[in-house]
């Protein structure tokens, strides 16, 4: 005899297999619209547990384990690892058995949207101008910038070399102020 569920606003699809034969109580319920059942998952196998099935096992440390059936519970007590049993969802996930569905869901669409608002740092006109720029023009401007940087670094190098020469020339005067020999003590 099926016991009516006390749990709240859920509905169940009563398939033909569920109904006991010839009970008038259930003839009315068959006409019922489809409902949505809240199912839980087995802690060991990962399979769905419908209401009225499964056993909740509470350990002394307070951990709860919901098992779909005695098979799962027994294997758990024997300390078998679900990842090693081919029929569990954990195994299937680890061995990537249901990948197609997952991959299909994860495909992202790269949407390019045109700029409609100005961003901090640039205004809308600058963005529009950059967008309208031709690739050749962009390349040319980039090369010009690179050339400028190269010239600047070259100039810096020559300046530094000149400074070094000057320092050497004035080297004798500078000894008193900057002992380069690492602090040699003059005992005299």
């Amino acid at each position: 005899m099926l016991v009516p569920l006390e749990t709240g606003p859920t509905v169940a699809r009563l398939s033909a297999a569920w109904q006991p034969a010839g009970t008038s109580l259930f003839e009315g319920l068959v006409e019922c619209a489809t409902m949505v059942l809240k199912t839980q998952t087995c802690r060991f196998s990962g399979l769905r547990i419908y209401p009225g099935r499964g056993v909740l096992y509470i350990r002394v440390d307070g951990q709860q384990f919901l098992f779909l059936k005695q098979k799962c519970r027994s294997l758990f007590i024997q300390r078998k690892r679900p990842a090693k049993l081919a029929w569990t969802t954990l195994y299937r996930k680890q061995h990537r058995k249901d990948l197609e569905a997952q991959v299909a869901r994860k495909k992202r669409r790269n949407v390019t949207r045109s700029a409609t608002r100005s961003v901090a740092g640039t205004s809308l006109e600058i963005i529009a101008k950059k967008k309208a720029e031709k690739p050749e023009a962009r390349k040319a401007s980039r090369e010009a910038a690179l050339r400028e940087i190269k010239e600047r670094s070259k100039k810096q190098k020559t300046d530094k070399a000149q400074q070094k020469l000057q320092a050497k020339a004035a080297g004798g005067k500078a000894v008193k102020n900057m002992p380069k020999g690492g602090g040699k003590v003059n005992i005299r």
Binding site: V3, E6, P51, Y57, I58, G62
Partner: protein
């Protein structure tokens, strides 16, 4: 499924640690039933070893079924010492209790419990 002779762990601070069931009402006792027991192991507290007390069963290894079809079972058999009215002797309930106690009017035990399943 506690019967005469079952040992239960006491999960309150009444002083008793282990208790042996000496009388059940009917053949088997389950969660929510009050049983008469004899204290087998006790530490300093309100009860001493050898005392005959009443206790309410709060955890059983045997599954307990509920009206919605769910089944619950624990790792051990345990009890909380109460007086004949159902009020606990101790001041704290350290283990787990279930909602079955609500139907048996064991509100005080429920309120003291840290975790109700």
């Amino acid at each position: 499924m506690i019967i005469d002779g079952s040992r239960l762990v006491v999960t309150d601070n009444s002083g008793a640690k282990e208790v042996e069931c000496i009388k059940t009402r009917g053949r088997y006792a389950s969660i929510g039933d009050i049983i008469t027991c004899s204290v087998k192991k006790a530490v300093r507290g309100k009860v001493t070893q050898g005392q005959v007390v009443k206790a309410v069963i709060v955890e059983t290894k045997k599954e307990v079924q509920r009206k919605d079809g769910s089944v619950i079972k624990f790792d051990r058999n345990s009890a909380v010492l109460v007086n004949p009215k159902g009020i606990p002797i101790g001041t704290r309930v350290l283990g787990f209790v279930t909602h079955e106690l609500r139907a048996r009017q064991m509100m005080k035990v429920l309120s003291l419990a840290a975790r109700v399943f």
